[in-house]
Amino acid sequence: MKMSRLLRRQRTLLNCAPISHDRLADRSMRAVVARADDSDEFRKQQNFDRAVAEIVHLIPIPPETAEWFSEKDLNVGSKWTWRKMARNPAVLAISIAVVVIAGVSVFQVLSRLNDFPGSATARKLLTVAASTRPVMLDPVSTEAGTLSDLFFMKHGLEHYDVPAEFGDFRTIGCRVFEDEESRRIAQIWLAEKRIQLFLFPAERNPKTGAVLWFPGWRYVHQEGWAGAVTERSGVCFMAALRGSEKDLALYISNTTGQ
């Protein structure tokens, strides 16, 4: 193909055709070079340009200037390693922040996993248990299971029943009080390992009023105290003692076994 057949614009572009093919910047240049690639005139131009460029690269550079472009220096500047990146203060700060946020998130997720309807009230009552002294309760020496009648007859509290697991233990005292949300709470002190029992209204759905039910026994912990909570007939029961979940589990598994 002859270059004279090219349009004026293409001819203009072809005069600027790059010496190296990797500098074919745009589509129009690529197209015009592809079109003229087999023409003698263009081949002569390319050979001419390549020969000139080779000589240009041999033009001596003053040693003081050449030092600026030594391979060694360039490599040092461009070297990139994971260790180097990890030592960057910005990366370090971001990494620490991410770890802290992740830690807090994991902690919150784990805490939520143990949550159940009424767990917040149960934790508050563990604080009450820690600060209660025997003199604050009315002295009553009987079996814990029999106090349901007392709560119903004297205080009008329905279904405030002590579960069978703790029904046979002797009591030291009991009382009924209202918490800050005016919910009526029954508290019983047992002779057995100074365990305290609490009965309080189960949490309800604020829209429907339905009791938020949960199955079996759940555990809560607060300031060295542990509580085992269950829900029956809209009333939550909690057995609390100073110690760990293990100490409570012993009672629950033993009695459940019976």
């Binding site: 001819r11 203009t12 572009l13 005069n15 600027c16 055709a17 790059p18 010496i19 190296s20 500098r23 074919l24 910047a25 745009d26 240049m29 005139e41 002569k44 131009q45 050979n47 001419f48 340009d49 390549r50 020969a51 000139v52 460029a53 080779e54 000589i55 240009v56 690269h57 041999l58 033009i59 001596p60 550079i61 003053p62 003081e64 200037t65 600026w68």
Partner: protein, 143 residues
């Protein structure tokens, strides 16, 4: 651009010193190739202070098939002097083009030229260089 390594060295160092100062003051331009553009203007300023070559109409020959072998016989310094003797902006166009570090759009941006101007300067440059080669090596020109 200058055809003189001592002057090139001086311009290079001045350009880098100014760039370092601007970097220290946080005043580095965001535009690409500003350092090359700066170096180019310093080269042109330096050349202005020198004796100016007479404006001559140079001969122009079509690029010959054996041009590559003629060019191979050139000393690099001879070619440098020839390019630096070209009037600007043709000199800038030839220098940047034969450095083979920029594509044509980058050269247009750097030398502040239009496409048809760059095209004309390069085409004329080839033909003038060919005429010079033919004058320097007449026996090969006749082959």
């Amino acid at each position: 651009m200058l055809g003189d390594s001592a002057k090139a060295q001086e311009v290079f160092q001045t350009t880098l010193r100014e760039a370092a100062l601007r970097a220290a003051q946080g005043e580095l331009p965001r535009e690409p190739f500003w350092l090359f553009r700066d170096a180019r203007w310093r080269c042109l300023e330096t050349v202005k202070e020198d004796l100016q070559p007479e404006a001559l109409k140079l001969d122009e020959h079509d690029v010959a098939p054996h041009a590559a072998s003629q060019i191979e016989k050139l000393e690099p310094a001879q070619l440098a002097v020839w390019i630096s003797g070209a009037p600007d902006p043709q000199r800038t166009a030839l220098a940047l083009f034969y450095l083979d570090e920029f594509d044509y759009q980058e050269i247009l941006d750097l030398a502040e030229l239009k496409l048809n101007e760059l095209s004309r300067f390069l085409a004329q440059g080839r033909q003038q260089l060919q005429a010079w080669l033919d004058a320097k090596q007449p026996q090969q020109g006749k082959v």
